[in-house]
């Protein structure tokens, strides 16, 4: 029987792993290094992938998590002081992204990881629970709290005007 190759279509996987790494380490060279390292290990151990245990992205994120926890966790998160940025030079969108990136960087390691897995790698709460070996309920609560802390850092009102249906799958 032919074995299923988990890296048959690598481009979308690279983007998701990179987004996860960038939320944890900051957008840039460190995230690229972590992504490269993840795929290097994935290529080396691709035979160990078991489709019964989950999707290839979850397997890759497990590798990425170990890479980052092992080597990059103490790396300095590159941030830019947004107050000092001249808003006339930047589009509003770019500025907003910078602000969010800075706020995420201000979170503690655990919150940052949850945000990275949920909004960077686009995993569901259930998938995150499986990856971290926790209960889905606990992950949902932890995510809610992490978002609350992020709002606190950004100074955004807790009462959201429009909450998209099914936003927190």
């Amino acid at each position: 029987m032919l074995r299923r190759d988990p890296l048959a279509d690598p481009a979308p996987l690279i983007k998701r792993v990179y987004a996860y790494a960038a939320y944890r380490l900051g957008d840039g060279a460190d995230a690229e290094d972590a992504t490269s390292e993840t795929f290097e290990r994935a290529v080396k151990y691709r035979k160990s992938y078991d489709p019964r245990k989950g999707e290839p992205v979850a397997w890759l994120l497990g590798i990425a998590k170990r890479c980052i926890d092992g080597g990059w966790s103490k790396a300095e998160f590159p941030t830019q002081d947004v107050d000092s940025v001249d808003t006339t030079d930047l589009e509003e969108e770019t500025l907003r992204r910078l602000m969010i990136s800075r706020a995420v960087a201000a979170l503690d390691e655990r919150d940052r990881e949850l945000i990275a897995l949920r909004y960077g790698a686009d995993l569901t709460a259930r998938e995150i629970a499986e990856l971290l070996g926790a209960r889905t309920n606990a992950i949902e609560v932890a995510l809610h709290r992490a978002l609350g802390r992020l709002r606190g850092i950004l100074g955004v009102d807790e009462t959201e005007p429009v909450r998209k249906r099914g936003a927190s799958r």
Binding site: M1, L2, R3, D5, L7, A8, P10, A11, I14, K15, Y18, A19, A22, Y23, D27, A31, E32, T35, S36, F39, A42, V43, R46, K47, V82, D83, T87, E92, L95, R96, R97, M99, I100, S101, I115, R118, Y119, G120, D122, L147, L150, R151, L154, G155, V156, D157, T159, E160, P161, V162, R163, K164, A167, S168
Partner: protein, 141 residues
């Protein structure tokens, strides 16, 4: 932060986090993708090779079995085993199966029955160390 607070009160943070997801440079994606694909083709070639060999073996077995080749092969193997056994086994005892008058005349003498003699010997040996019971006094003339 002041700018942010001023403009984005009551924002959908989850949507912002998704929309503002960091994206890798396309050059980086292409480079890494090429590397992964190069290694992947080796992986796929290996498994395809194994599958091809398996399929070929199955087809050949089916073809051979359909014309009675399996039975033929097994009997050939049996014959080969018998021949090998004949060569390997030492065979210095010549057995003459043909009967002739000479054989009847000069056939090997049958082994004598030594049972009785042995018995007597045994008895003699047995009495050697024993005191024989006397029923009458010995004849003295």
């Amino acid at each position: 932060m002041r700018y942010w607070r001023k403009r984005h009160e009551g924002l959908d943070l989850e949507a912002e986090l998704r929309a503002g997801r960091p994206e890798p440079a396309s050059e980086f994606v292409h480079r890494l993708e090429a590397r992964v694909r190069n290694d992947g083709s080796r992986f796929r070639a290996g498994s395809l090779r194994v599958a091809f060999v398996g399929a070929l073996t199955a087809v050949m077995l089916l073809a051979v079995a359909s014309v009675g080749g399996v039975g033929y092969a097994s009997s050939a193997a049996e014959d080969a085993a018998v021949s090998v056994k004949r060569i390997v086994t030492p065979n210095d005892v010549i057995t003459v199966l043909k009967r002739s008058p000479a054989i009847d005349q000069y056939k090997k003498p049958k082994a004598k029955k030594v049972k009785k003699a042995k018995k007597a010997k045994k008895q003699g040996k047995g009495t050697k160390g024993r005191v024989r019971a006397r029923t009458r006094p010995p004849f003295t003339g």
